[in-house]
Amino acid sequence: MTSPRSPRVGGSPARLEALLRDLGPRLVRGGGEVPAAGCFPTGLAEIDAALGGGFPRGRVSEVVGPGCCGRTSLALALLARTTAAGELGAWVDRADAFDPASAASAGVDLERVLWVRPRDVGEALQSVEHVLQAGGFPLVLLDLCTEAAPPVPAAAWPRLRKAAAAAGCALVLLARRRLAGTFADLALELAAARPRFESGPDWLAGFDTRVRLVRSRTGPREPDVAVHWRAA
């Protein structure tokens, strides 16, 4: 028969400190919301809270917004967190805008990223399908920010959604405006950023933006959150 009382923690504070140090990043702080098992967190507390843990596995998510709004910063934060957890990620870069130095500054483990640079939208969609079919890439980011209205056939989204579900992969689409329609389970809309310059001498310290959850099949949590990005 077990005691109804909580077991007493034995040992000295030094042992407890050593244990905490050894556990390191695997330690989840109590009190906050525990990330859902099927999600990839971004590490940004406000956004993870709004999404209920992070970007869902096996689903299509969209991150949309105008030119300078923080889409890439958000995607790199997600990729950094994913690769740090030992997973692989793929970046299908139709825009040919992925910057390895910037990604490394954001904490991305570059060895764990498959970078594909297709020349057109058709190649980009086929590349995503190939990566999803390979399995083993639980996060795939598709960057379609080049054009305002990329020529994506309507039939592509149900195919990609089905492939992502079969692979248990979080497929995240970066674009200027929403493209996947009802086939996206999650959509975040980022507002144009306000840059923060600091004086003496002038330097770009970062920028502030607002993120709105415009679609969520799991139910809206936090409709509008502020995010602050700091320059590397």
Partner: protein, 511 residues
């Protein structure tokens, strides 16, 4: 004490026939013959059993052969097919034994045969018996499209004779096997006709004149007296008859470079029909690689062109793969990107075989993609977008601010989770190539900007930060002044002034 030598000989009795049947599988079961060249006067050098039954004989002309069998299909002797078949025979041997070598070509009645020697020491433990090993060898050759017989004995010469004997005794059956138990060479050879030892024509005539028909007849006579009467060539024949073999065991091949080629009967000008030829060549190469538990590495494509020209090119593969479809697509993409300048007469594809990575899963860490699936995917992606556009991003060892490098993607080993650092770092999107801009300055700093991206007054600006390098090279030197600029229309961009050309460009956008 050194282990007793055991040698297996894998033998194809009629290489021209086997090579053509391997290159053209549709010939199986049909009456066909191989001619020494094109045209009706060419000599028939090999005849399929179906054609032989129809009355076609070797050494006749093509006209006579067609008169005997109207449905006869005639193929021109192809050195490329023969060479590839010989190499495939070696691959079949290397698929079962680490040491193997091509046997010297036969002469006289055995000039058409091809043979390979493989080290057969210690194989009984792997294949239950030497007969099991011999059967496995023959089966591998059969899978590569080469009907072969196998002999196993204590020396190369006796093993070859055993293989010849097996082929003669069981001509109808493919994969006949003859194993001579250790110590049984002399008893095996004694009753055999001397012709099986392949003496040259002059020596064969002399032996016949002396009334020597069988190996035992030869061994009964003193060597010195024989050499005095029949010349020094008889000594080699006697050594063969005694089963003597002073050569070292077959060596380990120095490299795994495999080549498959095809001579075309008519030059091809268009790429579409060439695709069909390449499909067969690549399929045969894939079978050989699979036989040796290897996969395609980078490809070397060599085309013989009409008029004597040659077109050689290298096709890179992102990862080792055995998917023929993907390899064919890569080769066709390379050809379509830069078509050959003349009609094609000969095709050769070579590849250094690479081992497919083994898969070791971990209980507690995330499993990456299966190596075979990853290799196939990388190859398909390379075929789709180009091999130079697939890989892992890497930091370039280059001082230029826009330097970017793509390394081959190799799935890293699983590892413990680490901490990615504090999130919320502002990222940039690179513009490749940089976007030209028109800029007005005030006090040396941008005050107004016009480009395809942003247009209007500059609200905030920071900089300049100067980067320069490679000053010692006229072609590669660079010097830029960088500015971070926020425009009135909402863009935050990285602007640079090329100090050498005095041009303004936007090389990145903050996002």
């Amino acid at each position: 004490m050194a282990a007793r030598a055991r040698i297996a000989c894998l033998l194809v009795p009629a290489l021209p026939l086997a090579a053509e049947r391997r290159a053209h599988p549709e010939l199986a079961g049909r009456a066909f013959a191989v001619a020494s060249g094109p045209g009706p006067r060419a000599e028939i050098v090999a005849v399929s059993p179906e054609a032989f039954r129809a009355g076609v004989r070797a050494c006749s002309s093509v006209v006579h052969a067609r008169a005997a069998c109207a449905a006869l299909e005639v193929r021109v002797l192809s050195p490329a097919h023969e060479q590839a078949a010989r190499a495939a025979l070696l691959d079949a041997a290397l698929g079962t034994s680490p040491r193997a070598e091509l046997a010297p070509p036969g002469a006289g009645a055995y000039a058409a045969e091809a043979a390979v020697f493989a080290d057969a020491r210690g194989v009984a433990a792997l294949f239950r018996s030497e007969a099991g090993f011999a059967g496995a060898l023959a089966e591998r050759a059969r899978r590569l499209g080469l009907p072969a017989s196998v002999g196993v004995a204590a020396s190369r010469g006796v093993a070859r004779i055993a293989a010849r004997r097996a082929a003669q005794e069981d001509a109808a059956a493919e994969g006949a096997v003859c194993v001579i138990e250790p110590g049984g060479d002399a008893a095996f050879l004694a009753p055999l006709p001397l012709d099986l030892l392949d003496p040259d024509d002059e020596l064969a005539d002399a032996l016949s004149r002396f009334g020597l028909r069988r190996v035992a007849d030869l061994l009964r006579l003193p060597e010195r007296a024989l050499a005095a009467r029949l010349g020094p060539g008889v000594s080699a024949l006697l050594a063969l008859a005694r089963g003597e073999d002073h050569a070292p065991p077959p060596p380990v091949p120095p490299s795994a470079r495999l080549e498959e080629a095809a001579d075309l009967e008519a030059p091809l000008e268009r790429l579409e029909p060439l695709g069909f030829v390449l499909r067969g060549v690549i399929a045969r190469l894939a079978e050989r690689l699979a036989c040796r538990a290897l996969a395609f590495g980078d490809l070397e494509l060599a085309l013989g062109l009409e008029g004597g020209g040659r077109d050689a090119r290298r096709v890179g593969l992102a990862a080792a793969t055995l998917d023929e479809r993907v390899v064919l697509r890569l080769v066709m993409l390379a050809l379509e990107a830069a078509p050959p300048r003349a009609a094609i007469e000969r095709v050769a594809v070579a590849s250094v075989g690479r081992a497919l990575r083994g898969d070791q899963l971990d209980f507690f860490r995330p499993a990456g993609p299966a190596p075979a699936a990853l290799a196939r995917t990388l190859a398909e992606l390379a075929a789709l977008v180009g091999s130079e556009r697939v890989g892992a991003p890497a930091l370039a060892d280059d001082p230029r601010p826009d330097a970017c490098r793509m390394a081959p993607f190799r799935a890293p080993k699983p590892r413990e989770p680490s901490h990615p650092g504090a999130p919320g770092t502002l990222a940039v999107r690179a513009l490749r190539p940089p976007l030209p801009a028109r800029v007005r300055t005030a006090g040396g700093r941008p005050s107004w900007l016009e480009s395809a991206l942003a247009k209007g007054p500059v609200e905030r600006v920071s900089g300049p930060w100067r980067t320069s390098g490679r000053w010692w090279s006229e072609m590669e030197r660079f010097a830029f002044d960088h500015f971070d600029v926020a425009t009135a229309d909402g863009w935050v961009v990285r602007l640079r002034l090329d100090l050498l050309t005095r041009r303004w460009e936007i090389d990145a956008v903050y996002d």
